[in-house]
Symmetry: C2
Subunit: 558 residues, 2 copies
């Protein structure tokens, strides 16, 4: 009852606040945003004025145009893997170019992502946590679901605001047409339909090395294999596709009957790097501002024990590829300088979630600072390196400890691009506007709470530096584990009695408020459809794989 009243009060005072930038309707946020807003509205309004004035000045100096946006999202890189030379040195490799970039950028030192690839990428694109539209889980093979068309992506928002938009590299939000970047707001997209699970494990080289178990050559004998559709054939699945906005895509680099190999994986990665350079050049020449996404697939590679290159003292299969990627990033940054777009472009480099600890230590990585990695809701799964550069606008070589959620980029970039009026106001948006943090600095963040989900299940709540591991159903709440994340970064020393005694009830109310918001704005399912529809040149084996998938999907109807 008390909670309900509180929410009503918040909603009331929210409606009393002036709308920033003449935005027609208020964005709808999650509960705890209003708790902060009720306390800080006046200061936020002041900060907003300062932000608006800086943005106006920038626009004036940039021929009336908002900044370009270049977003580099790196796969499975945990906190501390890039940008801290001391930690590079401990591990025996160097991300020299990202380190240099970090000196020019603001480090968002408490960047929270989702605990795995698909959810993080969805949260960035939609500004909404993925459980709200059934995208909390990741699929590796043919699956027939994906990001719903009715989600309004940042690419759509920026397109509408006049940006040229391009996506290069990993996408991983489904194998159905409506989920794909060229149907989700990008003018052009080059991307693999699936992700490195298929690309690095479902191939014959990986089978021969024993990385893939029980699939591929040398891994099983057909004598007792009745169900020929049981094992995926990576070579039969669709691989890299490319296409323009609203049009069908075409698969590249694979002929009918051709096998997918590690060499082809390397080629595909090189292709994306080359395309990132090519499109950067193309976009820089256009009159429109641009939004370029480059989501490399490496450093992830087959988790082999050996590597053909051995340039780093570490020599892990991922660290070797990380150095390659770092050189590629260096090339891109140099290209920006050469093109003269370094100063009017916001560049973001970040990881999408922690390491995949399954491949430790031969990958070269293990969780170092935080506990756990990809797939875990401990900090090691959801805290990543994140840097934002905007020369003259965002303080170079700065570090901010304010909490940031990857979904906040959706709202914040829309604000910085002058596209707030293009954001949807008919649904709950998790991403809050963090422009003041970026432009005005530490303590100006507008978030103190993160709801950490695994799939559709809330597993932890972070508020300030306190973290509650949400008790399992039936677990006695008195035993719920609270952690002090500053004093115990690895969540190993619960202070449950000390914090629980006062925080237990308050955290319960945080959960209640959040759940009540979910009742008002209910979760919906992902989009479902026929895999690969919208690829013009499907190979016969790919068609067969889809047919098999469809039959398997319908056997319950027999």
């Amino acid at each position: 009852m008390k909670t309900k009243t509180l929410l009503t009060t918040c909603a009331l005072s929210a409606s009393l606040l002036s709308t920033p930038q003449g935005h027609a309707k208020e964005l709808i946020h999650d509960a705890d945003h209003y708790v902060l807003k009720a306390q800080h509205a006046e200061q936020w309004a002041k900060d907003d004025k300062a932000v608006d004035s800086k943005l106006a000045e920038f626009k004036k100096s940039n021929n009336g145009k908002p900044p370009n946006i270049f977003y580099i999202l790196i796969d499975d890189m945990g906190y501390g893997d890039m940008g801290i030379p001391e930690l590079n040195s401990i591990r025996g490799y160097s991300t020299a170019n990202v380190n240099k970039f970090s000196d020019q950028a603001m480090r968002l030192n408490r960047m929270y992502t989702e605990p795995s690839c698909t959810p993080t990428r969805c949260a960035f694109m939609t500004g909404r946590q993925p459980y709200r539209y059934g995208m909390g889980d990741t699929a590796v093979d043919i699956s027939g679901f994906g990001l719903p068309a009715k989600e309004v992506t940042l690419a759509e928002v920026l397109s509408e605001a006049g940006y040229a938009t391009t996506h290069i590299g990993k996408w991983h939000m489904g194998d159905i047409k409506e989920a794909w970047p060229n149907h989700q707001g990008f003018d052009y997209a080059a991307f693999p339909i699936h992700q490195q699970g298929q690309l690095t494990i479902f191939n014959d080289d990986a089978s021969k090395e024993g990385v893939a178990v029980s699939i591929g050559p040398g891994q099983y004998k057909e004598t007792f294999t009745k169900d020929k559709w049981f094992r995926p054939d990576g070579s039969a699945m669709a691989v890299g596709v490319e296409g323009k906005k609203g049009e069908n895509v075409r698969e590249v680099g694979m002929k009918p009957g051709e096998r997918w190999t590690e060499a082809k994986y390397d080629e595909l990665n090189q292709r994306y790097q080359d395309q990132a350079v090519e499109h950067l050049r193309k976009l820089a020449k256009q009159d429109k501002p641009f939004f370029l996404q480059y989501w490399p697939i490496i450093p992830l590679s087959a988790p082999r024990h050996t590597t053909e290159i051995y340039n780093t003292p570490n020599g892990g299969t991922y660290t070797e590829k990380m150095e390659l990627l770092d050189r590629w990033i260096g090339d891109l940054m140099k290209e920006m300088d050469d093109l003269g777009v370094a100063d009017n472009t916001i560049v973001i480099i970040m990881g999408d979630n922690g390491h995949f600890t399954k491949y430790s230590p031969q990958s070269g990585y293990t969780p170092m600072i935080f506990k756990g990695g990809k797939g875990y809701t401990t900090e090691g799964g959801v805290r990543v390196d994140a840097f934002v550069r905007w020369p003259g606008m965002i303080a170079a070589d700065s570090i901010v400890a304010d909490i940031f959620n990857v979904s906040d980029f959706y709202t914040t970039l829309a604000r910085l691009a002058g596209a707030m009026d293009k954001l949807p106001t008919d649904r709950l948006i998790d991403g809050v506007d963090q422009s003041a943090l970026l432009l005005e600095g530490e303590t100006k963040g507008r978030r103190d709470t993160v709801y950490i989900y695994s799939g559709n299940k809330m597993e932890a709540i972070v508020k300030e530096h306190l973290k509650l591991k949400v008790p399992e159903p039936g677990e006695n709440a008195i035993l719920a584990s609270f952690y002090d994340l500053q004093r115990d970064t690895r969540e190993e020393n619960p202070v449950s009695t000390e914090i629980g005694a006062w925080g237990g009830a308050e955290f319960t109310r945080i959960i209640q408020r959040h759940m009540m918001r979910k009742k008002k704005y209910p979760d919906e399912p992902a989009a479902f459809g026929k895999p690969y529809e919208g690829i013009d040149n499907l190979r016969p084996e790919t068609k067969a794989a889809v047919e098999a998938f469809l039959i398997k999907s319908k056997v319950h109807e027999q």
Copy 2:
């Protein structure tokens, strides 16, 4: 047999090498030094020439004098606690002054100490690992043993070479006269006889807070307490003493009957800081080069749950004191600038071992990068932050990944001070000369092996980035745990089969070589004696405590 031959060969080729700096006799080192020397003698000779030439140039520019040395050793600070702003930010405090210092210094990124206070401090002072002279263990209360007079300390070496030498702060190498700094080479010393165990736990405030259990007011009732000597009384033990070389010391700050309190602990710390400043000024004015040691007792403090100051977001009792210490270090660095000695002084700032995890998380610290803390032989116990500054001579803002042992400073500082001929050549010296690393940079280190002991027991061997946890007696060597420290910084993913298959035999030979050296240069016991002899103004209660100790020490003779 093979091993013996190898050693003979090494010894032979060693004798063929030219003696650096006209040193009369070669230093005697542990086995693996000669394995490296046999492979790198030629390069080392070249590097030595470069080093000698740089040192000669420096001396010329410094009025014919070698550099001053200022050594700040911080208690229980694990790797990453100082000098990396990103990690400061994660934990919610700032070591702004050490961070600034780190930008001016070389970070020894693989500094290995011993796993606790006494052994590390002994290793630094003597250049020899502490098991060689019975100082592998730590004592907190009255114990009647300490560092033997016949050890040749760096203070004695530098004194003989014409340095003025001063020690301020923690010493912790025994409560017998011969062990004390003013009898071990220092012209002047101000130090507590014991350490923070007594100073922060054996006091009435700690008892009242429940930090000390079963001693002090409110912690026990005498009804069934027959042995009045069972519990230590911190207030009766000797506290801070001060004195000149070879003379008796005097206890300061305690009157007979007075109780030791937390306030008095704070006073003592402030006193040491003031004395560090005072002696820095005094030494800077002298014509002699100086060797000043400042070994603060804070950040260690009573592991209370509350703190009277709350300046940091973290608020842990140790992090608060760490910020205080950081300000003090800032004051000292500024003082050096003001005195004009910043340029001709080598300044070293480092920790002595990992955190004491017993007090996590209320201390504000837990192991973050490596596994374990103080007392453990995992990297978290023995890897620390370490910075060396020497403007114009040592590359500023550099990071080197070469292995360094705290004992190496003994030999290295003697070399940099032009005092190699004062080092003893009648005993095994663990510390190798790392001058080339400091002056010529990364990869020039002369160590690839560390023998990690706990007390008198060898627990682990590090060679390159590989670490063997030495099997327990009777444990099957096939199960011995090997770790790849670059790919698995936290020693959680043993690669025993992968490395053991080739490294097992080689590591066995490393241990054999080391043990054969120990047979040639056998371990000896610590020095034993009457506690506190050599303190002029012992309080009556202190005398009584010593009497009780002596009776207890001799009951076996009844």
